[in-house]
């Protein structure tokens, strides 16, 4: 029985300084987009539920940077960061959230259904666990056609409780599918702590049930995420099958919506503050400064560029027309 054991991702020096910089600015961009959403949400023009990834950016960015553009991603209700990290179009994302015709899917889905399939962001499905078999099916299609693409299923800690995750783990391991099961463990499902939903055991143990290797890493360390994912991607491309990846991280704001909610009683301010200390973006920034890879002027210029892009995208999303009712009945059947 040769199930590779869980091991710390090899945090070697093999990440170029360009990439280290890229990690930082990609995460920062995701953060700034989501803060932009949070700041404007009370205007009540984004009229759909929003689930922000603020605090969790390292997982989306680290994992997607380990992918090629042709690789594919499936996400959940909390999909903004994955969409952006997979090079999804920002203007079309915000337009979608504003319900506009220019949205990435014409306003049909809103924030919980972001997709940009041409970029490999295939679909986001808001039912917990429901996109996991789609990802396995995507990997099966690639395996059948001899493509070397890899598919990633992002999901939260609660998805481990849904049977469909296990059905797919079993199948993917059996068929050695080129799929990565990336669990973004932020400790909560809505307002319920992991300890109230799952027995105490390392979450990576679920991989054993399906004879699949597991890798775990600090989900607030983008380099660690990148390296673990890259290893899993290489395995998959070599035809060695799926890997379960576990990244612990933390959602800073409320489950759904733009606000902070540490006061409502399901978690403590101190827990939040501890995790906030471990901000993945601040961490990466420190690392860059310490390594002398970033100077303040350069940083400021890049940030200004990002802000300008984001402001332009919001301006676009606000001004472009709403989706039109005459289109509502299109595309029921192909």
């Amino acid at each position: 029985m040769a199930i590779p054991d869980i091991k710390p991702p090899n945090t070697g020096p093999d990440v170029s300084s360009d990439l280290l910089l890229k990690f930082y600015f990609e995460m920062l961009r995701v953060r700034l987009v989501e803060e932009g959403i949070a700041d404007r949400y009370s205007e009540q023009e984004m009229r759909c539920p929003v689930h922000l990834s603020i605090g969790q950016e390292a997982v989306a960015v680290g994992a997607c940077q380990a992918l090629q553009p042709r690789d594919k991603v499936f996400s959940t209700h909390r999909c903004h960061a994955h969409y952006l990290a997979k090079a999804g179009d920002l203007k079309r994302m915000l337009a979608e959230i504003y319900g506009k015709a220019a949205g990435c899917i014409g306003g049909r889905g809103g924030s919980m259904h972001l997709m940009d399939p041409d970029k490999g962001m295939i679909a986001s499905i808001p039912l917990v666990g429901s996109s996991i078999p789609l990802a396995a099916g995507s990997a099966l299609a690639d395996q059948r056609t001899g493509s070397d693409r890899v598919t990633v299923a992002f999901f939260g800690d609660a998805a481990l409780e849904e049977g469909v995750f296990h059905e797919c783990g079993n199948f993917a391991a059996l068929r050695r599918l080129p799929v990565l099961f990336v669990c973004e463990n932020n400790l909560y499902s809505v307002y319920t702590h992991l300890d109230d939903r799952q027995p105490k055991r390392p979450l990576t143990e679920v991989a054993r049930a399906h004879g699949m290797p597991a890798l775990a890493g600090d989900g607030n360390d983008v380099v660690a995420v990148y390296q673990a994912t890259r290893e899993a991607v290489e395995r998959a491309r070599r035809g060695e099958g799926p890997t379960f990846l576990l990244f612990d991280t933390y959602r800073w704001r409320e489950h759904c919506g733009p606000n902070y909610d540490n006061d409502i009683g399901y978690r403590s301010e101190s827990e939040y503050l501890e995790w906030r200390e471990r901000c993945p973006i601040a961490h990466q920034r420190r690392l860059l400064f310490e390594a002398g890879l970033l100077d303040p002027d350069q940083e400021e210029a890049r940030i200004a560029k990002i802000r300008a892009e984001i402001d332009a995208a919001f301006a676009f999303a606000k001004s472009t027309p709403l989706a039109d009712p005459s289109q509502a009945s299109d595309h029921v059947y192909a």
């Binding site: 009229r47 759909c48 539920p49 306003g107 919980m112 409780e161 319920t192 109230d196 009683g265 509502a328």
Partner: protein, 360 residues
């Protein structure tokens, strides 16, 4: 018992749960988000504090397993109440519901009982989109062995919930989210509202409108406007989709000769189809014009408020259609529709209409 107390539908549900928990140790609640600060849209607020986590059990995210566990506990004499935030999540549990909950009593030749209530929320609005806004009640209503209840008014929500919990059968208890803040006169204390079928919400002579849940309110609103322009519509709140007792509907159609149904879910193979089919058979001679079915068009629910206009039937649409059916003078009809338009004014299309705050 002062019945002039006004509380909302959501509060009425909560009272029903509390009364049932207090009355019977075997009653307990299971679900996701019922013992947390969201407290299932407020319907379980403070309940875990009062009854403790063994009576208000927060569950893992596993709808199929959770439902099966509840069925097993019910077969063992407990009276679980499960809550599911959206009917889409209930789809994961439908094998358990259809094969085990609905059939245990029949299959065991009457031995096993499944005193289980499955609260399922349907609804709409605020850009929920295609996978968070379906109304799939007809799927459950098709299955013998289930009871399917869909209250509209706050006092009935409480009484029917208590009756559902007392019932020895699995009851699918459907709550429309846009009703939660609608208020009504609700008696205090423990009382049952029998699960015995439709009820006339507005008396009338010219046309019978059969609706459920939030659509009943739209129909009531339409009936008021129609009244003003000289047309008397009878509105029947369906309330219990299974077992289906259409006696009151037949009596109404015998009188009015005309039938309009308004579904919250899709029209094709929907609730209205059964109502129309039965009325066509039972009131064949009485019908003066073709029965008419209203409901959302035959496509998924888009998220954007830009795509939603025209999707859901509303008072205005009902008034228009009844106007056509009864050949109401177009000018009078316009007046009625103007009243409705004034009520709505610049209200957003994707949040509950404050007109419906009640009390009803």
């Amino acid at each position: 018992m002062p019945d002039d107390r006004v509380i909302t539908f959501g509060e009425a549900i909560r009272e029903g749960l509390i009364e049932a928990l207090a009355r019977d140790e075997a009653v307990f609640l299971m679900g996701e988000g019922i013992a947390d600060p969201s407290s299932f849209w407020g319907t379980t607020a403070g309940v875990v504090e009062r009854f403790g986590p063994d009576r208000v059990m927060e569950m893992p995210v596993a709808e199929n397993g959770m439902t099966g566990v509840a069925i097993g506990a019910a077969m063992a004499g407990q009276r679980p109440v499960i809550s599911l935030h959206r009917v889409e999540f209930a789809l994961l549990a439908i094998e358990q519901i259809v094969n085990n909950a609905a059939k245990a009593h029949y299959l065991s030749n009457g031995y096993h009982k499944v005193p289980l209530v499955i609260r399922i929320v349907i609804g709409r609005g605020w850009g929920q989109g295609p996978e968070h806004a379906q109304s799939l009640e007809s799927v459950f209503a098709h299955i013998p062995g289930l009871k399917v209840v869909m209250p509209t008014f706050a006092s009935e929500a409480k009484g029917m919930l208590i009756a559902a919990i007392e019932d020895d059968n699995p009851v699918i208890f459907i709550e429309h989210r846009w009703l939660y803040n609608v208020a009504g006169h609700v008696p205090e204390g423990y009382y049952r509202q029998p699960l015995n079928g439709p009820k006339v919400a507005v008396k009338g002579r010219d046309v019978t409108i059969v609706a459920s849940a939030y659509m009943t309110l739209e129909a009531v609103r339409a009936a008021k406007v129609l009244e003003d322009i000289g047309c008397s519509a009878e509105v029947i709140d369906l309330r219990v989709l299974r077992p289906l007792n259409l006696g009151p509907v037949y009596r109404s159609v015998q009188k009015t000769g005309r039938l309009v149904t308004v579904d919250t879910g899709w029209v094709q193979y929907g609730i209205g189809a059964e109502v129309v089919a039965r009325v066509a058979s039972e009131c064949f001679e009485a019908l003066k014009s073709p029965p008419l079915r209203l409901g959302p068009p035959d496509h998924p629910t888009p998220s954007s408020r830009g795509l939603i206009p025209g999707f859901y039937p509303d008072g205005d649409r009902i008034v228009q259609e009844v106007g056509k059916l009864l050949a109401i003078d177009p000018e009078r009809l316009k007046a009625g529709r103007r009243t409705l338009a004034e009520q709505r004014r610049d209200l957003p299309i994707d949040t509950p209409d404050p007109f419906f705050k009640g009390p009803f």
